[in-house]
Subunit: 463 residues, 2 copies
């Protein structure tokens, strides 16, 4: 179906990309065969560090003509193999397209290339007293990757997800044409939203080469509240009560003592309190001390009335750093605790989280595997890790499949979806199909065909 890259192809690609940005065959660092989680591995034939829309357009025009598969990669921090060149061909890496092109303070937008890292963007806008709210855990991910997975993060409770901050995308289509979707505008009802279709499409419909992102004025104050509970149920039962108030929390994270202990070990840093089995960690931000104080006091009271053992107000930079760096290290800490792991990133209705986590405990017991988890309690998005812990290949494969089957089927049963923010990529295709059914997969295939009739862009992903 696809053409194997030959010497003529290489010659052409080398004619449009300088030698220091193109790597062929064995010259390619094996890091580019997989993403962060590493479950999906494949070697591209050519790796190109692209540098401009025009260059990408030329490459795609050629690849489209000669039926060569192309996959796009940012920082490689993905967890589902979306940026792995599973059909070989060309891997385009956007990490050198990392310029911040414009800050428009009238329209409150920033224009960036796709390879800008989330942490670079955050630092840049903060210096300018502005704020880019999406806050996924992985700060070294690229903005292109964040848009392609509709990344969520901690602040979704108050501020929403990446989708809510994408105003305009410049996109190279699979055939090399360059198009601009959306605009520097706040409302739009001008045909199907191709912009929203691009967001979360995991590099299968077009290649994002420029993004105009919406910013907000920077909140000047932020405080956190750490609330210990004697049981997970008590903690999670408080979440809908909190969300119903007018206190507008920025983040509501759930963490169990077990997970905190991993993190303490991993970071060799003490967490302020580990004497209780369950915790909620909340943030409140705004521009007025009084307002924030009113809000967190109200929530502290509400939690204590509803079973919290205490409520620790966290305002110094040092204590804030201590709790949030622990929270930020959960993934790495769990990863370090085992030889191999795989993850499940389901999202369920907010009021079903406790039920869902308990179900993962049942699975763990039933299959005899360790399944630590933590979660964005405020938005129903859980991160659940199945740890190999030295199991044989056969056992691991078997148990992983069983655990995933049970977890995704439970998520579907209670009105959830396969992925809240990590995406489907290559690893979760089977579960997406089971969750959405043949009709929706067929609609998605139809959309894919409209953009990419030869299916050369990031083939074999999503469905």
């Amino acid at each position: 179906m696809y053409n194997i890259i030959n010497s003529t192809d290489i010659e052409y690609l080398k004619s449009i990309v300088p030698a220091d940005r193109i790597f062929v065959g064995n010259e390619i660092n094996p890091d580019y065969h997989h993403d962060e989680l590493g479950g999906t591995e494949a070697a591209p034939d050519v790796l190109i560090f692209v540098n401009s829309t025009e260059e990408i357009s030329k490459i795609m025009t050629y690849a489209y003509k000669y039926n060569i598969p192309v996959t796009v990669r940012g920082s490689g921090t993905g967890l589902v193999g979306a940026a792995v060149a599973v059909k070989g061909g060309i891997l385009l890496c956007t990490s050198k397209m990392n310029r911040i092109l414009e800050l428009d303070t009238d329209n409150l937008t920033v224009t960036v290339e796709p390879g800008v890292l989330l942490m670079e963007l955050a630092a840049f806008v903060e210096e300018n007293d502005l704020f880019y709210p999406p806050d996924p855990g992985e700060k070294s991910a690229t903005i292109g990757g964040n848009i392609s997975t509709n990344a969520g993060g901690m602040r979704a409770v108050r501020y929403g997800v990446t989708r809510d901050y994408v105003r305009e995308l410049t996109v190279v289509l699979p055939n090399g044409e360059v198009q601009v979707f959306g605009g520097k505008i706040v409302k739009n009802s001008s045909g199907y939203s191709l912009l929203n279709l691009m967001v979360g499409s995991e590099g299968t419909l077009g290649i994002i080469t420029k993004a105009v992102l919406r910013l907000l004025p920077k909140p000047t104050k932020s405080v956190s509240l750490l609330v210990p509970f004697d049981s997970m149920d008590d903690a999670l039962d408080c979440v809908p009560l909190i969300v119903k108030t007018d206190t507008n929390p920025t983040a509501i994270e759930y963490m169990s003592r077990d997970t905190i202990l991993f993190s303490e070990d991993y970071l060799s840093k003490k967490f302020p309190d580990t004497s209780h089995p369950a915790y909620l960690l909340l943030t409140f931000d705004g521009s007025s001390d009084d307002e924030i104080e009113k809000n967190y006091s109200k929530i502290a009271d509400l939690c204590i009335v509803n079973g919290a053992a205490d409520a620790f107000f966290i305002d110094t930079d040092e204590r804030k750093k201590s709790v949030w760096s622990a929270r930020g290290a959960f993934l790495e800490a769990i990863k370090a605790s085992t030889d191999e792991m795989d993850e499940c990133d389901v999202v369920v209705p907010r009021n079903r989280i406790a039920e869902y986590i308990k179900y993962t405990h049942i699975i763990a017991k039933e299959l005899g595997v360790r399944i630590p988890s933590f979660g964005h309690a405020g938005d129903g998005n859980l991160h659940i890790y199945i740890c190999r812990d030295g199991a044989t290949d056969k056992m691991w494969e078997e148990k992983l499949k069983k655990a995933f089957d049970m977890m995704y089927s439970k998520a579907h049963e209670i009105g959830g979806q396969v992925s809240g923010e990590h995406g489907i990529g290559f690893a979760k295709k089977g579960y997406l199909k089971e969750s959405l059914g043949d009709t929706q997969i067929a609609l998605m295939r139809g959309i894919k065909s409209a953009f990419d009739p030869k299916c050369i862009l990031n083939p074999d992903k999503l469905f």
Copy 2:
């Protein structure tokens, strides 16, 4: 291409829909030949007041099999002919599917049928101390229609548009299959967002039969600020300055004295002040008096420093009603001032509004037509009306075309889009094509084909 409805078809439809909900040929009230603006007229062969997902599914299964065009209509408050059965066939009216099905206070959602009116929804959630933020001017529009046009409204500055509040849609596809897109979830990265594709698709991809909408806690206080200026430029130059502050205004509306005077005449009610040529009307809401006061005082000061003649604080219910009912009556007042009119609903970058409005004044002068306008200054969405004022058919047609050509081409030139919230429907197809170009229209056609290969659902709309 399509089959003409015959007596066998009528017989079948009458076998699944009771006689009091189905009308054939001359039995159909001519109100159902057009929408609110009335520029597009066509008679359906059959009008059915549908009552359930199952009924719609049966009708679509039949229509798909026999190639009969189907158009869906809510309250008929559209302005671009999207709900007119331009190819005849079946018109499905959702006005009897107006049940509020569930209020989920844990997940802060309300589940409604598509025929629920915006004002009914607003009243229901308010009674329950909750808040559905989208606030289009036309309160008797249906929620189905609001979703289908991604309706915006006054509060978009702070709260966003309809798209931001749609969590889940139950949809009957053109072939009669019933599918659920999205879920009662806050994040989602599970394949292409078919949910977001449905929003704003103007009834061309599927029929919405149930919607789960996101709610917020109800703000307990709201005040308005009316700020007079000595020129439009001064007023509109303040808008980016206001948006940049941390005061989070809910609405920022621009109005000229001329438009206010129309409205005074139309309502026979006095506006608090008409001594200045230009006004900004702002709203601030929240749950704390102090916070709101801090915010509106800051903005009043900012406006006065930047050229405002004064700043009237509007807090009593009576005064609030007086200014906002004037604002709400603009469309009707302009409509009442002329024999016929057509509208343009462009959206432009926020900092280009003044330039754009001035351009409409140039067009008015050049063509010798009256072109009143008003606008959502905070989000760049303008409503511009071209008034016939007794022109002959030929003159009207000519001037209207010229005015539209100039306006849409200017919007495109400064980075705007054809429609901010009214949609494209039948009336604006040509301008959408000009604005987006052949490639994007082809992508949209491809998407349409994936959902509706026989093109029986709301044919001849959008492109």
